[in-house]
Amino acid sequence: MTEEVVATAGEGAMEVKPLSPWADTWRRLKKNKLALIGLVIIVIFLLVGGAQEIANLLGPHNASESDTAAQRPWWQRGYLAPYDPNGGDFHAGPAGPINPPSMKHLLGTDYLGRDVLSRALVATRISLLVGIIAVGIALAIGLSLGPISGYYGGAVDSVVMRMADIFFAFPYILFVLLIMTVLGPGFRNVFIAIGILSWAGYARLNRGSVLSVKQVEYIEAARAQGASDLRIIFRHVLPNTMAPIYVAIAMGIGGAILTESALSYLGIGMRPPDASWGSMITDYQTYFFAGQWWMLTFPSIALVVTVFGFISFGNGLRDATDPKLKE
């Protein structure tokens, strides 16, 4: 009797594998040129910013940093930087410290003789770290509270959502400034501030998906098997609600980078002499009007291009995962 059953079912099992949801998303994404450009920008950004980690992975024998590099604080050790970003040289060139781009200093030097390229590279690393860690903190909070709130509903849901509402109600930048003022400026505090204020968006986004997913039958199946609530939430519900979250992450990293730049611009983020795109913009803006354009231009372009890349990719990802969008 089981032979008939075997003969009946095993045959004709799909020979052409239908596209998995990811493969289908990628296919649709490929059609969106802007999103692909964004993806390329992101990849470059990740490579540049993460150069030190990559170099470490490749092995210590590749390290050939100068002594001064080894003395820098860890977030300053951008491996790719040809010069010490904080090491000024008043005789960097014939005109003194400030020099336009040349073969020796590809992006020129600033008013302290520091190599602009090195500073820009280190700043990339800062932005990368801020983006990832800040969003990471926001996700850790948001993706714990969101699913729990959505799954249990009732009082828990009300409390969490009201808390989220409170966080939404405050003007973002002002609150970030407030927290930074309380915590004090500095690298670590930047991503705590951004992270803590961003969790509500992820939580609410996720809660919406959770509300619809928790009604689906495979969740009931898990309960019928005796799965604990925690298992159901984090093993069944959460993985199936991640699609819009990925989009939010891409946008979120872009936003975090922008916020950090704003903070550094205002002098509340990175403290001098640490290099960050925002602080570089603050420092160099007066020189721009004196005709020494290279100091301001490159960090500005880097900032704009990076944020644009994340947002384009995020948009493209959102379109590609939207089942109702006609191709």
Binding site: M1, M14, P21, E217, A224, Q225, G226, A227, P239, N240
Partner: protein, 346 residues
């Protein structure tokens, strides 16, 4: 002592409206049903939408908390079982769902879907579990290589088989099949029905088979419970139910089922019910069926008739009707010869 005894089970869902979420009414999804199930039998539950059969299934398994009533299994009232007892009970009572596309987690591989119950109850080592998953796949007619795939790579019928394998993982004694073939193509339904029957023989399973398709229920079930608007209106063995229906709703239901035989269809006398099924939020007073019933009289508006046996249509044939059809003196029709398989003249 029956294998499973359901007594006066009720499930009412409160309707909460307004800002303050006050309870303005109830959905009387299940409103006092009682029946028993013997070990090894297949009990069919049939009824149309809104009758409460799917809700009843979930309450029996305690996926929903009952409003009142009891479900006694193995001496324990499932409704009152402790957490620990419930975990043990879950191993004995499993469920197969209707929608093959929604009942499997799309992000999990088949081996994890089937193996999860084993992991939850901490049965066996990982190697043993892997082996068991392959065993189960083969039992339902799939192969070991299917274990690494994801649900979207399978057809509806195959996914339903995966659902069956998952239900079998813990060696249950009772499986509730909630419309297991309704969402499948006609040519695949027979495969899955046969599979379920084979598994019942092989593993000595007891089934509760819920469906709205009477033909399927009659084929698979030993006894059938007919539900309407949260109540049981008739319970009989499946042959007798077709042969000697007593409740007017059952009669209407039977006559409404299209039969794939043009000759029979042409000669049929059809009872077409007027109107729609009332909403379970406002069940009619008295007998829930009386507004649509051709036999309804004054007494039917007063109280719901009790479910009892009239004696003339079979020893365990129960019906809830003041004017149930009587079969005194009507000889049971002979089973027609296998050759002609003729329909009875009705």
């Amino acid at each position: 002592m029956s294998f499973l005894e359901v007594r006066d089970l009720k499930k009412h869902f409160p309707i909460r409206t307004g800002i303050l979420k006050r309870t303005t009414g109830h959905v009387y999804a299940v409103d006092g049903i009682s029946f028993s199930i013997e070990e090894g039998e297949t009990l069919g539950i049939v009824g149309e939408s809104g009758c409460g059969k799917s809700t009843a299934a979930r309450v029996i398994l305690r996926l929903l908390e009952a409003t009142a009533g009891s479900v006694v299994y193995d001496g324990i009232d499932v409704m009152k079982a402790s957490r620990v007892e419930m975990q043990r009970l879950r191993r004995d009572m499993q469920i197969i769902f209707q929608d093959p596309y929604a009942s499997l987690n799309p992000r999990m591989r088949v081996r994890n879907i089937i193996g999860e119950p084993l992991r939850i109850h901490q049965i066996g080592t990982p190697a043993e579990r892997r082996q068991r998953v392959i065993e189960l796949l083969e039992t339902v007619g799939l192969n070991a290589e299917h274990a690494e795939r994801y649900p979207h790579e399978f057809s509806g019928g195959q996914r339903q088989r995966i659902g069956v394998a998952r239900a079998l993982a813990l060696n249950p004694r009772l499986i509730i099949c909630d419309e297991p073939v309704s969402a499948l193509d006609v040519s695949i339904r027979a495969q899955v029905i046969n599979l379920l029957e084979d598994l019942q023989d092989q593993f000595k399973l007891t089934y509760v088979f819920i469906a709205h398709d009477l033909s399927v229920v009659k084929h698979t079930s030993d006894r059938v419970v007919v539900m309407y608007l949260g109540k049981t209106v008739e319970i009989a063995s499946s042959d007798v139910l077709y042969d000697r229906p007593q409740h007017p709703y059952t009669e209407a239901l039977l006559s409404a089922v299209p039969i794939p035989d043009p000759e029979t269809e042409r000669n049929r006398r059809r009872i077409v019910l007027e109107g729609d099924v009332p909403s379970p939020t406002k069940p009619p007073a008295g007998c829930v069926f009386h507004p649509r019933c051709q036999r309804a009289q004054e007494v039917c508006e007063t109280a719901m008739p009790p479910l009892e046996c009239t004696g003339d249509a079979g020893a365990d044939h129960m019906v809830a009707c003041y004017f149930a059809t009587r079969y005194e003196g009507v000889p049971k029709r002979d089973a027609p010869s296998k050759d002609t398989g003729e329909a009875p003249a009705r």
